[in-house]
Protein backbone atom coordinates (compact mmCIF):
# COMPACT_ATOMS: atom_id res chain seq x y z
CA UNK A 1 0.00 0.00 0.00
CA UNK A 2 1.38 3.42 -0.91
CA UNK A 3 1.75 6.08 1.73
CA UNK A 4 -0.99 8.06 0.00
CA UNK A 5 -3.38 5.14 0.23
CA UNK A 6 -2.40 4.71 3.90
CA UNK A 7 -3.21 8.36 4.58
CA UNK A 8 -6.60 8.01 2.90
CA UNK A 9 -7.25 4.91 5.00
CA UNK A 10 -6.33 6.75 8.22
CA UNK A 11 -8.65 9.62 7.29
CA UNK A 12 -11.56 7.24 6.77
CA UNK A 13 -10.74 5.64 10.13
CA UNK A 14 -10.77 9.04 11.84
CA UNK A 15 -7.10 8.82 12.83
CA UNK A 16 -5.92 11.63 10.55
CA UNK A 17 -7.64 14.83 9.49
CA UNK A 18 -6.96 17.12 6.57
CA UNK A 19 -6.78 20.84 7.30
CA UNK A 20 -8.83 22.86 4.84
CA UNK A 21 -8.44 26.65 4.88
CA UNK A 22 -11.56 28.33 6.24
CA UNK A 23 -11.55 30.65 3.27
CA UNK A 24 -12.23 28.21 0.45
CA UNK A 25 -10.86 30.66 -2.07
CA UNK A 26 -7.29 30.27 -0.79
CA UNK A 27 -4.80 28.83 -3.25
CA UNK A 28 -3.36 25.59 -1.95
CA UNK A 29 0.27 24.80 -2.59
CA UNK A 30 0.83 22.18 0.08
CA UNK A 31 -1.20 19.76 2.19
CA UNK A 32 -1.57 19.46 5.95
CA UNK A 33 -2.77 16.32 7.67
CA UNK A 34 -3.26 16.36 11.43
CA UNK A 35 -3.53 13.99 14.33
CA UNK A 36 -6.63 14.15 16.53
CA UNK A 37 -4.60 16.26 18.99
CA UNK A 38 -3.84 18.98 16.45
CA UNK A 39 -7.31 18.78 14.93
CA UNK A 40 -8.86 19.40 18.36
CA UNK A 41 -6.69 22.46 18.84
CA UNK A 42 -7.50 24.08 15.50
CA UNK A 43 -11.14 23.02 15.21
CA UNK A 44 -12.37 23.34 18.80
CA UNK A 45 -14.38 23.20 20.89
CA UNK A 46 -12.40 25.51 23.12
CA UNK A 47 -12.86 26.23 26.80
CA UNK A 48 -12.70 29.99 26.56
CA UNK A 49 -12.02 32.92 24.26
CA UNK A 50 -8.32 33.09 25.20
CA UNK A 51 -7.77 29.50 24.15
CA UNK A 52 -9.91 30.01 21.04
CA UNK A 53 -7.88 33.04 20.00
CA UNK A 54 -4.55 31.28 20.46
CA UNK A 55 -5.77 28.20 18.59
CA UNK A 56 -7.19 30.28 15.74
CA UNK A 57 -3.78 31.88 15.43
CA UNK A 58 -2.16 28.44 15.26
CA UNK A 59 -4.74 27.48 12.65
CA UNK A 60 -3.87 30.53 10.56
CA UNK A 61 -0.17 29.56 10.74
CA UNK A 62 -0.95 26.02 9.60
CA UNK A 63 -3.15 27.36 6.80
CA UNK A 64 -0.23 29.57 5.84
CA UNK A 65 1.89 26.42 5.44
CA UNK A 66 -0.74 25.29 2.91
CA UNK A 67 -1.11 28.53 0.99
CA UNK A 68 2.11 30.55 1.19
CA UNK A 69 4.23 30.81 -1.93
CA UNK A 70 7.38 30.79 0.19
CA UNK A 71 8.14 29.42 3.64
CA UNK A 72 11.26 30.33 5.58
CA UNK A 73 13.16 27.22 6.65
CA UNK A 74 15.76 26.54 9.33
CA UNK A 75 17.66 23.73 7.63
CA UNK A 76 20.45 23.21 10.17
CA UNK A 77 19.19 22.20 13.64
CA UNK A 78 19.97 24.75 16.35
CA UNK A 79 20.54 27.41 13.71
CA UNK A 80 17.04 28.80 14.17
CA UNK A 81 16.58 32.50 14.01
CA UNK A 82 13.02 33.43 13.21
CA UNK A 83 12.12 30.94 10.49
CA UNK A 84 8.62 29.54 10.10
CA UNK A 85 9.59 25.86 10.04
CA UNK A 86 12.72 24.00 11.02
CA UNK A 87 14.38 20.61 10.76
CA UNK A 88 15.14 19.33 14.24
CA UNK A 89 18.05 17.45 15.75
CA UNK A 90 19.02 14.80 14.84
CA UNK A 91 18.35 15.70 11.19
CA UNK A 92 18.34 12.07 10.09
CA UNK A 93 15.12 11.57 12.07
CA UNK A 94 13.39 14.04 9.76
CA UNK A 95 11.24 15.56 12.48
CA UNK A 96 10.29 19.17 11.84
CA UNK A 97 8.50 21.88 13.75
CA UNK A 98 6.29 24.75 12.75
CA UNK A 99 6.74 27.81 14.94
CA UNK A 100 3.71 29.79 16.03
CA UNK A 101 5.52 32.46 18.00
CA UNK A 102 3.02 35.08 18.89
CA UNK A 103 1.73 35.72 21.55
CA UNK A 104 4.13 34.33 24.11
CA UNK A 105 4.42 31.54 24.97
CA UNK A 106 4.95 30.41 21.42
CA UNK A 107 3.72 27.03 20.27
CA UNK A 108 5.64 24.40 18.32
CA UNK A 109 3.74 21.92 16.16
CA UNK A 110 5.81 18.82 15.38
CA UNK A 111 5.48 17.11 12.03
CA UNK A 112 7.09 14.95 9.35
CA UNK A 113 6.82 15.06 5.59
CA UNK A 114 4.87 12.12 4.17
CA UNK A 115 5.70 13.27 0.63
CA UNK A 116 7.03 16.49 -0.78
CA UNK A 117 4.71 19.32 0.31
CA UNK A 118 2.64 17.02 2.51
CA UNK A 119 3.11 17.60 6.24
CA UNK A 120 1.64 15.28 8.86
CA UNK A 121 1.34 17.19 12.14
CA UNK A 122 1.20 15.15 15.32
CA UNK A 123 1.76 17.11 18.52
CA UNK A 124 1.95 20.65 19.87
CA UNK A 125 3.96 21.96 22.81
CA UNK A 126 4.37 25.37 24.40
CA UNK A 127 7.83 26.84 23.96
CA UNK A 128 8.62 28.53 27.24
CA UNK A 129 5.72 28.41 29.70
CA UNK A 130 3.04 25.94 30.70
CA UNK A 131 -0.25 26.51 28.94
CA UNK A 132 -3.32 25.45 30.95
CA UNK A 133 -5.14 23.95 27.98
CA UNK A 134 -2.21 21.94 26.60
CA UNK A 135 -1.28 18.64 28.24
CA UNK A 136 2.38 19.05 27.32
CA UNK A 137 5.21 20.59 29.26
CA UNK A 138 7.10 23.62 27.92
CA UNK A 139 10.06 22.78 25.71
CA UNK A 140 12.40 25.30 27.36
CA UNK A 141 16.07 25.33 26.28
CA UNK A 142 17.13 23.40 23.19
CA UNK A 143 18.93 20.60 25.02
CA UNK A 144 16.05 19.96 27.41
CA UNK A 145 14.45 16.61 28.13
CA UNK A 146 11.12 18.02 26.91
CA UNK A 147 12.59 18.82 23.48
CA UNK A 148 13.94 15.29 23.16
CA UNK A 149 10.63 13.87 24.32
CA UNK A 150 8.63 15.99 21.87
CA UNK A 151 10.80 14.82 18.96
CA UNK A 152 10.59 11.19 20.13
CA UNK A 153 6.80 11.48 20.54
CA UNK A 154 6.46 12.74 16.98
CA UNK A 155 8.54 9.85 15.73
CA UNK A 156 6.54 7.35 17.79
CA UNK A 157 3.23 8.69 16.45
CA UNK A 158 4.55 8.40 12.91
CA UNK A 159 5.56 4.78 13.51
CA UNK A 160 2.14 4.01 15.01
CA UNK A 161 0.29 5.35 11.98
CA UNK A 162 2.82 4.50 9.29
CA UNK A 163 4.58 1.34 10.45
CA UNK A 164 5.58 0.41 6.91
CA UNK A 165 6.48 3.81 5.50
CA UNK A 166 9.38 6.19 5.84
CA UNK A 167 8.91 9.93 5.89
CA UNK A 168 10.69 12.03 3.29
CA UNK A 169 14.44 11.81 3.74
CA UNK A 170 16.23 14.29 1.53
CA UNK A 171 19.50 16.08 1.13
CA UNK A 172 18.13 19.48 0.20
CA UNK A 173 15.13 21.63 1.08
CA UNK A 174 13.51 21.13 -2.30
CA UNK A 175 13.25 17.41 -1.52
CA UNK A 176 10.78 18.35 1.21
CA UNK A 177 8.97 21.48 0.26
CA UNK A 178 8.23 23.78 -2.66
CA UNK A 179 9.07 27.40 -1.96
CA UNK A 180 11.34 26.71 0.99
CA UNK A 181 13.58 29.72 1.61
CA UNK A 182 16.81 29.99 3.56
CA UNK A 183 17.51 33.62 4.34
CA UNK A 184 21.14 34.57 3.91
Amino acid sequence: MSIRAQIEKLIVAGELFELNPLNHKDNRRRTVFMSGEINSLVSGPWANAEMAGRCYRLRAELEDFITAEQITVCWEPFGADKEQIGRLDPPEWDVWDLRSRDPSPGLRAFFRFACKDVGVFFTCSPRSLKVSWLDRLPLLHRESREWRKAIADCLAEWKALFPNHQSVNGSQISDYITGGVILR
Binding site: R4, T31, E61, K82
Partner: protein
Protein backbone atom coordinates in the same frame (compact mmCIF):
# COMPACT_ATOMS: atom_id res chain seq x y z
CA UNK B 1 -8.28 18.26 26.81
CA UNK B 2 -11.63 18.14 28.59
CA UNK B 3 -12.70 21.53 27.28
CA UNK B 4 -16.36 22.46 27.52
CA UNK B 5 -18.05 22.95 24.20
CA UNK B 6 -18.44 26.69 24.06
CA UNK B 7 -16.72 27.77 20.84
CA UNK B 8 -16.11 25.87 17.61
CA UNK B 9 -14.64 26.69 14.21
CA UNK B 10 -16.95 24.83 11.85
CA UNK B 11 -16.45 26.39 8.46
CA UNK B 12 -20.20 26.61 7.85
CA UNK B 13 -20.73 28.98 10.75
CA UNK B 14 -17.35 30.68 10.73
CA UNK B 15 -18.47 33.59 8.59
CA UNK B 16 -21.90 34.11 10.20
CA UNK B 17 -21.02 37.42 11.83
CA UNK B 18 -19.51 38.76 8.63
CA UNK B 19 -22.56 37.73 6.62
CA UNK B 20 -24.85 39.56 9.04
CA UNK B 21 -23.60 42.93 7.79
CA UNK B 22 -23.19 46.20 9.68
CA UNK B 23 -26.12 45.52 12.02
CA UNK B 24 -24.83 42.07 12.95
CA UNK B 25 -23.59 40.88 16.30
CA UNK B 26 -20.03 41.71 17.37
CA UNK B 27 -17.36 39.66 15.60
CA UNK B 28 -15.75 37.46 18.26
CA UNK B 29 -12.21 38.34 19.27
CA UNK B 30 -10.84 34.93 18.26
CA UNK B 31 -12.07 35.43 14.70
CA UNK B 32 -10.49 38.87 14.61
CA UNK B 33 -7.27 37.21 15.75
CA UNK B 34 -7.53 34.68 12.91
CA UNK B 35 -7.93 37.38 10.28
CA UNK B 36 -5.21 39.53 11.85
CA UNK B 37 -2.84 36.60 11.56
CA UNK B 38 -3.82 36.01 7.94
CA UNK B 39 -3.29 39.66 7.05
CA UNK B 40 0.05 39.71 8.81
CA UNK B 41 1.11 36.55 7.01
CA UNK B 42 0.09 38.02 3.66
CA UNK B 43 2.09 41.17 4.23
CA UNK B 44 5.04 39.12 5.38
CA UNK B 45 4.97 36.88 2.33
CA UNK B 46 4.73 39.91 0.08
CA UNK B 47 7.89 41.36 1.64
CA UNK B 48 9.61 37.98 1.62
CA UNK B 49 8.87 37.46 -2.08
CA UNK B 50 10.42 40.85 -2.84
CA UNK B 51 13.50 40.03 -0.78
CA UNK B 52 13.94 36.59 -2.38
CA UNK B 53 13.65 38.16 -5.84
CA UNK B 54 16.34 40.71 -5.01
CA UNK B 55 18.46 38.05 -3.28
CA UNK B 56 18.72 36.49 -6.71
CA UNK B 57 20.28 39.75 -7.89
CA UNK B 58 22.82 39.83 -5.08
CA UNK B 59 21.01 41.50 -2.19
CA UNK B 60 21.95 40.16 1.25
CA UNK B 61 20.49 40.82 4.66
CA UNK B 62 23.71 42.60 5.63
CA UNK B 63 23.51 44.89 2.61
CA UNK B 64 19.85 45.62 3.34
CA UNK B 65 20.70 46.40 6.96
CA UNK B 66 23.35 48.92 5.87
CA UNK B 67 20.98 50.45 3.33
CA UNK B 68 18.22 51.26 5.80
CA UNK B 69 20.39 51.90 8.84
CA UNK B 70 19.34 48.92 10.91
CA UNK B 71 21.34 46.21 12.60
CA UNK B 72 21.55 42.77 10.97
CA UNK B 73 19.69 41.40 14.00
CA UNK B 74 16.74 43.67 13.27
CA UNK B 75 16.68 42.58 9.63
CA UNK B 76 16.83 38.96 10.74
CA UNK B 77 13.87 39.53 13.01
CA UNK B 78 11.79 41.38 10.42
CA UNK B 79 12.42 38.94 7.59
CA UNK B 80 12.30 35.83 9.70
CA UNK B 81 8.65 35.60 10.59
CA UNK B 82 5.37 37.45 10.18
CA UNK B 83 4.98 38.47 13.80
CA UNK B 84 7.69 41.12 13.79
CA UNK B 85 6.39 43.56 11.18
CA UNK B 86 4.80 46.95 11.65
CA UNK B 87 3.65 49.53 9.12
CA UNK B 88 6.96 51.35 9.62
CA UNK B 89 9.14 48.26 9.24
CA UNK B 90 7.22 47.21 6.13
CA UNK B 91 7.87 50.62 4.62
CA UNK B 92 11.58 50.51 5.49
CA UNK B 93 11.97 47.02 4.08
CA UNK B 94 10.19 47.75 0.81
CA UNK B 95 12.18 50.90 0.24
CA UNK B 96 15.44 49.15 1.06
CA UNK B 97 14.75 45.96 -0.84
CA UNK B 98 13.26 47.22 -4.06
CA UNK B 99 12.64 50.94 -3.83
CA UNK B 100 8.89 50.37 -3.69
CA UNK B 101 6.05 51.52 -1.50
CA UNK B 102 2.98 49.66 -0.37
CA UNK B 103 -0.14 49.99 -2.52
CA UNK B 104 -2.84 48.22 -0.49
CA UNK B 105 -5.85 46.49 -1.90
CA UNK B 106 -8.38 44.12 -0.35
CA UNK B 107 -10.96 41.60 -1.38
CA UNK B 108 -14.28 40.38 0.04
CA UNK B 109 -14.23 37.20 2.07
CA UNK B 110 -17.82 36.23 1.50
CA UNK B 111 -19.33 34.88 -1.70
CA UNK B 112 -16.04 33.87 -3.26
CA UNK B 113 -15.77 30.94 -5.61
CA UNK B 114 -13.87 28.13 -3.91
CA UNK B 115 -10.47 27.26 -5.30
CA UNK B 116 -10.71 23.96 -7.12
CA UNK B 117 -7.07 22.98 -7.01
CA UNK B 118 -6.10 20.50 -4.30
CA UNK B 119 -2.43 19.48 -4.49
CA UNK B 120 -3.18 16.15 -2.84
CA UNK B 121 -5.39 15.16 -5.80
CA UNK B 122 -2.72 16.34 -8.19
CA UNK B 123 -0.05 14.25 -6.47
CA UNK B 124 -2.19 11.16 -6.87
CA UNK B 125 -2.89 11.97 -10.51
CA UNK B 126 0.81 12.47 -11.21
CA UNK B 127 1.61 9.19 -9.54
CA UNK B 128 -1.01 7.39 -11.61
CA UNK B 129 0.15 9.06 -14.81
CA UNK B 130 3.83 8.34 -14.33
CA UNK B 131 3.85 5.03 -12.48
CA UNK B 132 1.20 2.71 -13.87
CA UNK B 133 2.09 -0.01 -11.41
CA UNK B 134 -0.26 -2.51 -9.78
CA UNK B 135 -0.16 -0.45 -6.61
CA UNK B 136 -1.27 2.76 -8.31
CA UNK B 137 -3.93 0.85 -10.19
CA UNK B 138 -5.35 -0.13 -6.82
CA UNK B 139 -5.10 3.48 -5.75
CA UNK B 140 -7.24 4.49 -8.70
CA UNK B 141 -10.03 2.33 -7.32
CA UNK B 142 -9.77 3.38 -3.71
CA UNK B 143 -9.05 7.11 -3.72
Amino acid sequence: MGARSVITSQAASFFDELAAGHAGTPIPEEKLVYFRTRSRNRLYHFILSRFVAEQGKGLTKAALARRIGKSPEVINRWLGSPSNLTADSISDLLIGISGEELAPTSEPILNQRPGNYRPWDDNIKIQMDTKPSTETAKLRLTV
